[in-house]
Amino acid sequence: MIDQKLIEHIAKLARLKITPLEATEYGQQLTKVLNHFQEIDKINTQGVEPLVTPTDIEFYERADEVHKRYSAEDMVANAPEKAGQLFKVPPVV
């Protein structure tokens, strides 16, 4: 059961501001979805390694080479706020 306290904790972890109404709604919906997931508990998975990449793919590493394709200007062009070629955010203490 996902109660309001837990919902608030999750929202804080995820940095999502949610209204009390949303909190109630998400609480109910998450509970429902997770209850549905409970069926999976029945499956014995002892010693099974979780699968991440589902296909067999050869390991690939890149050579240690520098390629310069973008200017600093390109990189800050989309910034909501900037100073020179730096990104600007609230004071971080």
């Binding site: 501001k17 499956i43 990449t53 989309n78 909501p80």
Partner: protein, 490 residues
């Protein structure tokens, strides 16, 4: 040349032999977009440089330079794929003004093959949805009946293709987002094997599930497009280095002796009668063509949907952390930065920038990865995922391709189903296991509902066996009774 019916090859040949110019072809589709898009809302951005791109192709042809197998073929691109200099939003407010300085590898490969980019296609926000109703840019409508959804998340791609607002489109598929809208809109869509197509520059939803693929009008076009976009990419170390077959030249409708698997667990009466009918007809036709139908069992597929939602939401909660109002995209309106706490800055920006469905999944995913819950949820889902994947590998030793419906029902009406997430999620029972197991899956139009809405049939193949899937689809396409039908908005 009838550009509404022409294949990629026909148009490309015509452009290369100067029977038609790339500019003419592009103009033709741009004017269709102008006329028809207001009814559909499939395109959410039009490329102002499309004609310049077409012009460049024509000039290359004039100079006898090589132009690639898709020369002059205009494409629409789902807004999940970054396009250099062209706004890319993932259907979200949080990226409403993002202009990428780079192309997704799929896009740059299409350009190398001679494609011109018409614009960007509507979708569910961050591909989270199956009706296109979660888009920040408004609903997209089904061209067969605009009261109905086009499906999702690649709803814009499917609608644009069905209404021929583009010669070809690209979609992405995390749990069915190519196949389901392709089915709802009566077009061909294929999700390649995981690792076949580069994810570089494709906005991530769930990294271990996402793949991009063609959403086009014919199996042949799908094969041609796949050839252009598949293959190892040094910018994506999860792409396979194996050789890409020449899908289009190997295309064959001969299915004699092919073993068609029918999943025992799917026959549980959850299907709409019209879907059921289409499915039975497809099986019947394949038998007539000499294929062998065998029953297979994948017991764990029953758990695919909850497993999928857990894994996809978990990965998404991390993938979407970068949308924080710092480097690009939306930032909540703050009067005074200096009095802002960092946490409020993030929470306001993200709270306002993401839509309800996206927030719901971020919440779910954050919870499933959090301390104390990880083992029970994310880890457990990953374990079951391996077991289910292994069941598929086993099954593909005894059959070549699995045949199934794409969805339980044809397209539904706008606003009809979005109220209850769980019901909405359960709609994906036939599509999600393909992504979880990394398989290739395809939807090919094969039926029509009583309401005159298209119904597709799904083919699922083993890892890197796109050719087999394409061939069976090709055979079905040949005998399909609906292939010449066109939507109301056309």
């Amino acid at each position: 040349m009838d550009l509404l019916k022409a294949t990629f090859k026909q148009v490309s040949d015509a452009v290369q032999t100067k029977k038609v110019s790339a500019v003419e072809v592009t103009k033709f589709f741009l004017s269709r977009i102008e006329n028809l898009n207001p009814q559909l809302n499939a395109f959410i951005a039009v490329n102002s440089k499309a004609l310049d791109e077409a012009q460049a192709i024509d000039e290359k042809v004039k100079k006898n330079e090589s132009v690639g197998p898709l020369a002059g073929v205009p494409f629409g691109i789902k807004d999940m794929l970054c396009t250099k200099g062209l706004r890319t939003t993932a259907g979200s407010k949080i990226l409403e003004n993002f202009i990428p300085p780079y192309d997704a590898t799929v896009v740059s490969r299409l350009r190398n093959a001679g494609v011109t980019i018409l614009g960007k296609l509507n979708q569910d926000e961050f591909a989270m949805g199956s009706s296109n109703e979660t888009s920040f840019f408004g609903n997209c409508k089904n061209p067969w009946n605009t009261a109905f959804v086009p499906g999702g998340s690649s709803g814009g791609s499917a609608a644009a293709q069905a209404a021929r607002l583009a010669m070809g489109t690209i979609g992405t598929d995390t749990g069915g987002s190519i196949r389901q809208p392709a089915s709802f809109c009566g077009i061909v869509g294929i999700k390649p094997t995981y690792g076949r197509v580069s994810r570089y520059g494709i906005i991530a939803f769930a990294s271990s599930l996402d793949q991009a693929g063609p959403m086009v009008s014919s199996v042949e076009d799908a094969a041609v497009c796949l050839e252009a976009i598949c293959g190892h990419d040094p910018m994506d170390s999860t792409t396979s280095q194996r050789k890409v077959p020449s899908f289009s030249s190997e295309l064959s409708s001969n299915v004699k002796g092919m073993r068609i698997g029918v999943v025992k667990e799917y026959a549980s009466g959850r299907m709409h009668p019209d879907v059921e009918k289409t499915y039975s007809l497809a099986l019947e036709k394949l038998k007539q063509l000499g294929a062998v139908v065998i029953e297979v069992s994948i017991p764990l597929t029953e758990f695919a949907v909850p497993m999928y939602y857990l894994i996809a939401a978990s990965e998404a909660s991390s993938n979407l952390a970068r949308y924080d109002g710092v480097k690009y995209g939306f930032r909540a309106d703050f009067k005074d930065l200096s009095s802002m706490s960092l946490d409020d800055f993030y929470s306001e920006t993200r709270g306002q920038g993401f839509g309800a469905e996206v927030k719901r999944r971020i919440m779910l995913g954050t919870h499933c990865l959090s301390s104390g819950y990880y083992d029970a949820y994310y880890n457990k889902a990953g374990q079951v995922r391996r077991l289910m994947r292994d069941q598929y590998i086993e099954v593909f030793k005894s059959c070549d391709v699995i045949l199934s419906p794409v969805t339980t029902s044809p397209a539904f009406k706008l606003g009809e189903r979005s109220s209850d997430p769980l019901t909405m999620y359960m709609n994906d029972i036939f599509t999600t296991s393909t992504n979880l197991a990394g398989l290739t899956g395809m939807s090919v139009p094969f039926g029509m509902s009583a309401d005159k809405l298209p119904i597709g049939i799904q083919l699922t193949g083993a890892h890197f066996e796109e050719q087999k899937v394409l061939n069976v689809a090709y055979a079905l396409e040949n005998v399909s009774s609906v292939k010449l039908e066109v939507p109301h908005v056309y």
